[in-house]
Subunit: 190 residues, 2 copies
């Protein structure tokens, strides 16, 4: 590995993290190198810095492209392809979440919905379906929330996150104030 020490630590850490999240170690490393690089890099730069094979870099870059995590640049008068990451970390985060949702959450939602349409042939199956319903509800609420938040401009998103739980505290106060006699509102007064 041919990198200055600070960068190398960063790159090794992200390789490690990547592999814990189901991303090949070298793909994580490639991304880390691109992320901290001052200018776009070509495949051979990566071979050079990471000490991995050219073909591995090629595959890794393809993988990163399929995740939309990497931008491709062409330098005039140079035939090579150069790669970089977006400058905006929020944009990167959004892409990451979006892709992950597309690949894992959405298919899970459709499996659950599909299995809930089938008629249970036993008590065990009926109970299993009840549990799946329990699981579906939070997932649907979360994806709905995400769909909502995803559209926000970054400035607004930051604002919303900065607010944290304060809004709910306000609601809480309001609930108490009006003491709704209805259902499960204000149930916990301990």
């Amino acid at each position: 590995m041919n990198l200055p020490p600070i960068v190398q630590s960063f790159v090794l850490h992200f390789g490690e993290m990547g592999s814990r999240w189901g991303i090949a170690r070298t793909v994580g490393q490639i991304y880390a190198v691109l992320f901290v690089s001052a200018e776009p890099l070509c495949a051979d730069d990566l071979v050079d810095r990471l000490g991995i094979s050219r073909s591995n870099v090629s595959i890794g870059l393809k993988e990163l492209q399929s995740w939309n995590l990497v931008r491709l640049r062409h330098v005039p008068g140079d035939r090579r392809e150069f790669f970089s990451t977006p400058d905006d970390v929020w944009a990167i985060l959004r892409t990451l979440v979006q892709e992950r949702k597309k690949r894992e959450v959405d298919p899970t939602l459709s499996v659950l919905r599909d299995l809930l349409l089938q008629s249970p042939q036993s008590d065990a199956e009926a109970h299993a379906q009840a549990r799946m319903r329990d699981m579906l509800a939070p997932m649907e609420l979360l994806t709905k929330w995400y769909d909502d938040v995803e559209r926000l401009e970054t400035e607004r998103l930051i604002q919303l996150l900065g607010l944290g739980a304060t809004i709910v505290k306000a609601l809480d106060a309001k609930d108490r104030l009006f003491a709704l006699p209805g259902r499960k509102a204000a149930a916990k007064t301990s």
Copy 2:
């Protein structure tokens, strides 16, 4: 595999998902079986239903316990250990996020902070540090948000999520109305 068809589909899907998230396939399957089961199961039940070795089940259960994802029960007059998942899916989700944060996010934050304390020996390192600072900021905001939200009762959390981006829209309107020249003031009005 000795499971009714609906359950089997569910279990296979979660095994698959697990392995995409860096969890062994069988660990995901064990969790799925426990999740949909009407009563707690012992290790041999799992061997039976999943058709995997006893030792694999033992390792899987230990793994799930280390993630706090599984409750251990003792049936009086029976020497075996029985396992179940919490009934409340929100509780499960919280645990999952919490553990994941502890294992991956927190260490990453400290690596970043640590690397930012070192003095750069080159322009490349200085630029890399600037990028790390770019990365640190959103991560800190997100973890702060999470710390805040984590403490909410489930009822409140659901409320907050249901609100989605509407709060920000209100802020937006208010900002426009008062056309504040300053920064992010006016956050706390109650």
